[in-house]
C-alpha cells in the first residue's frame, strides 16, 4: 500500500438503538482500488455517505488526504467524486446539460477536464441532446461517472455501481475503473457481487455493520484452509439434500453447475466420491478444488455467526 490517503478510525453510526456501523477502522492507499464487499444491509452505503460528508458518524473520525470528513467537509467536497447507488442526475436535462451543470457547480468547464472523461463520455456523446431520463441503464451509468469526474477529483467513491446492471455493462464499468486507476485516482467502490472482489487491490468484507476481513483478494483465497470439493450429479437438488445429511459434511452449497462441499476432515477426492455414490445411489463426479472469493466470504459468514 502507498501512503495512506483515507484514514478511518473507529467509525460507528447509530440510529437510536440500532447500530448500523460498529467501530470501523482501515486505511486506503493513494492510487489504490479498494472494494467494500458485502450484501445489502451490511453498512456499505452508510460508510460511503460518511466518507463523502453527507452523514456524520456517531463516533470516530475519518480523514481524506488529511481533511476531516466532519470539520473540513466544505473543502473536502470539492476534492471528491461521488457516484451514488441510485441514479441521481436530472432526468429532464439532456446528457450535455447534466455534465455542464456539474462542471459549473465545481467552477470548471467540460473543455478543461475533457481529457479525464473522454474514454467514457465519448461513448454517450452521440446522444448528448437526449434527456438523461431516456437513456438505457448502461448509458446512465456512463453519464453519472462522467459527472462524478468532471471536476477532476482526487478520489472517487462509487456506491454499488454494478447493482441491477447486466454482465456486459459490469465488465465495461470495471474496465473504466481500471483505466482511472492508471491515472493514479484513488477509488473506493462497494459491490454485492463477490466475483468483482478479484478486480480490486484490496477488499474489505462487510457484514452487519462490521468488517470481517481486509486483504488483497489473492491473500483471502490463500488463507482458505478448509477441505473444499466440487460435486456434480444429475439430480442436483436431491444430491444437495443428501450431501447435507452426511456426517463428513460441514457445508454444501450450489455453485453454478456444481455443489461446493466443505468437510470436517481432509479426504481423498476419489474416496469421497465413492462415499457420496454409495450414500446417494447416484453417479457423481467429485474433485478437490481451490476456493473462490465467494467460498471465502461464506465461510467467514458462518464463522462469525
Amino acid at each position: 500500500m502507498n501512503k495512506a490517503y483515507v484514514n478511518i478510525k473507529n467509525i460507528s453510526k447509530s440510529y437510536g438503538e440500532i447500530e448500523v456501523l460498529t467501530k470501523i477502522s482501515f486505511s486506503v492507499g493513494e492510487g489504490e482500488l479498494f472494494g467494500l464487499i458485502g450484501p445489502d444491509g451490511g453498512g456499505k452505503t452508510t460508510l460511503i455517505r460518511i466518507l463523502v460528508t453527507l452523514l456524520k458518524p456517531t463516533e470516530g473520525t475519518a480523514k481524506i488526504n488529511g481533511l476531516d470528513v466532519v470539520k473540513d467537509f466544505k473543502k473536502l467536497r470539492t476534492r471528491i467524486g461521488y457516484m451514488p447507488g441510485r441514479f441521481s442526475l436530472y432526468e429532464d436535462l439532456t446528457v450535455e446539460e447534466n455534465l455542464k451543470f456539474f462542471a459549473t457547480i465545481f467552477k470548471t468547464t467540460i473543455k478543461e477536464n475533457y481529457y479525464l472523461i473522454e474514454d467514457i463520455y465519448s461513448q454517450i456523446e452521440p446522444f448528448k441532446n437526449r434527456r438523461a431520463g431516456n437513456l438505457s441503464g448502461g448509458m446512465k451509468q456512463k453519464l453519472a461517472l462522467s459527472c462524478a469526474l468532471i471536476h477532476k477529483p482526487d478520489i472517487l467513491f462509487l456506491d454499488e455501481p454494478t447493482t441491477g446492471i447486466d454482465a456486459v455493462s459490469r465488465v465495461e464499468l470495471w474496465d473504466m475503473l481500471k483505466k482511472l486507476k492508471e491515472q493514479n485516482l484513488t477509488i473506493l467502490v462497494s459491490t454485492p457481487y463477490m466475483d468483482e472482489a478479484n478486480l480490486c487491490d484490496r477488499v474489505a468484507f462487510m457484514q452487519k455493520g462490521k468488517i470481517m476481513e481486509i486483504n488483497p483478494p489473492a491473500t483471502i483465497i490463500e488463507e482458505f484452509d478448509e477441505p473444499l470439493y466440487s460435486v456434480k450429479g444429475d439430480d442436483f437438488y436431491h444430491l444437495l439434500l443428501q450431501l447435507r445429511q452426511m456426517k463428513i459434511t460441514k457445508t454444501a452449497f450450489p455453485f453454478g453447475d456444481s455443489i461446493h462441499l466443505t468437510t470436517f476432515d481432509n479426504i481423498d477426492f476419489r474416496e469421497l466420491n465413492g462415499m457420496i455414490e454409495s450414500k446417494t445411489g447416484m453417479k457423481t463426479e467429485t474433485q478437490k478444488i481451490k476456493a473462490n472469493i465467494e467460498d471465502c466470504f461464506m465461510a467467514r459468514m458462518i464463522d462469525t455467526k
Binding site: P39, G137, D166, V171, P192, Y193, Y237, F253, G256, D257
Partner: protein, 245 residues
C-alpha cells in the same frame, strides 16, 4: 381456456412496439410444466416488457401467448389469478406484520378465511419464521423479506411463478437458500420463470433463454449452451451473445 398439453407458457411471435421502437421482436418459445426457466438478457433487451405481457399487465402489439392455459390478451385477469409474481422491487407492506401480509395476499386471491389460517401456519413453518409472525415486515433483513415474498407469491398454489431478479443484493448464503426454495417448488411441480443478473444462477435453470435487442438469440439447457458456444460457463455464453452486436 385453451389447455391440454405439457406446456405452461406458450409464446407465439409475440411482439410489443412503443411507437417506432420494437421492444419485443417476434419471440416464440415454450416452457414445460415444472421447469425452472431462466429468462436472461442485458438491460434494455426487452425482458421486463416481455414479462409484463406474460403476466397480463401489458397487451401485446402482435402475436399470442398462453400462460397457465389462458390467453394473455383476451383473458389477462384469468392469467393474473393463475400465476404467482414476485416483482423486482420489494412489494410486501413494510408497515404490516408478517402474518398480516400473508393474510392480505391470500385474501386477494380469494382463499377462504379458514384456509388462510392453515396457510399462514404451514408457510411460516416452512420458512422457519414462526417466531416472526407478529414482526413488522419492514424490520426483517432483506434475505428474509425476499424469502417471504416468494412464499407469498405462491400462497394460492399457482402452477407457474414469475420471479423478477429475486436475489439482487442478497448475501451469498441467503441467495443460495432462495434457490433451494426454487428447487423445492419446482420438484413439487410448480413452474418457475426467473430473471437474474447473477449468471451462476443461470446454471441452476433447467433451460435458459437469452434476449438481445428484443429477440431471443439462444434457448437451451445450460449444458448445451456452453457446448455450442464452446465456453466453460454461462457468464461467457452471455458475454459472447450480448456483446456480439
Amino acid at each position: 381456456m385453451e389447455r391440454g398439453n405439457n406446456y405452461i407458457v406458450e409464446v407465439d411471435n409475440l411482439t410489443k412496439k412503443f411507437g417506432d421502437f420494437v421492444a419485443v421482436d417476434n419471440i416464440s418459445f415454450k416452457v414445460k410444466k415444472g421447469e425452472i426457466f431462466g429468462f436472461l438478457g442485458a438491460n434494455g433487451a426487452g425482458k421486463t416488457t416481455a414479462m409484463k405481457m406474460l403476466t397480463g399487465l401489458l397487451s401485446p402489439s402482435a402475436g399470442k401467448a398462453l400462460v397457465a392455459g389462458w390467453n394473455v390478451e383476451k383473458n389477462p385477469e384469468k392469467v393474473k389469478l393463475n400465476i404467482g409474481y414476485m416483482s423486482q422491487k420489494f412489494s410486501l407492506y413494510d408497515d404490516m406484520r408478517v402474518n398480516e401480509n400473508i393474510r392480505l395476499y391470500a385474501g386477494i386471491y380469494k382463499i377462504s378465511g379458514k384456509e388462510i389460517k392453515t396457510k399462514i401456519n404451514i408457510l411460516l413453518e416452512e420458512l422457519k419464521m414462526q417466531d416472526l409472525r407478529k414482526k413488522l415486515v419492514g424490520d426483517l433483513p432483506l434475505g428474509w423479506k425476499q424469502k417471504l415474498a416468494f412464499a407469498i407469491a405462491m400462497v394460492h398454489d399457482p402452477p407457474v411463478v414469475f420471479l423478477d431478479e429475486p436475489t439482487s443484493g442478497v448475501d451469498p448464503i441467503t441467495r443460495r437458500q432462495f434457490w433451494e426454495m426454487i428447487y423445492k417448488a419446482s420438484s413439487g411441480g410448480t413452474t418457475i420463470f426467473v430473471t437474474t443478473h447473477y449468471l451462476d444462477e443461470a446454471e441452476y435453470c433447467t433451460r435458459a433463454s437469452i434476449m438481445v435487442d428484443g429477440q431471443i438469440k439462444a434457448l437451451d439447457t445450460p449444458e448445451n449452451l456452453k457446448k455450442s458456444f464452446e465456453v466453460d460457463n454461462m457468464q461467457e455464453v452471455f458475454l459472447k451473445l450480448a456483446r456480439g452486436k
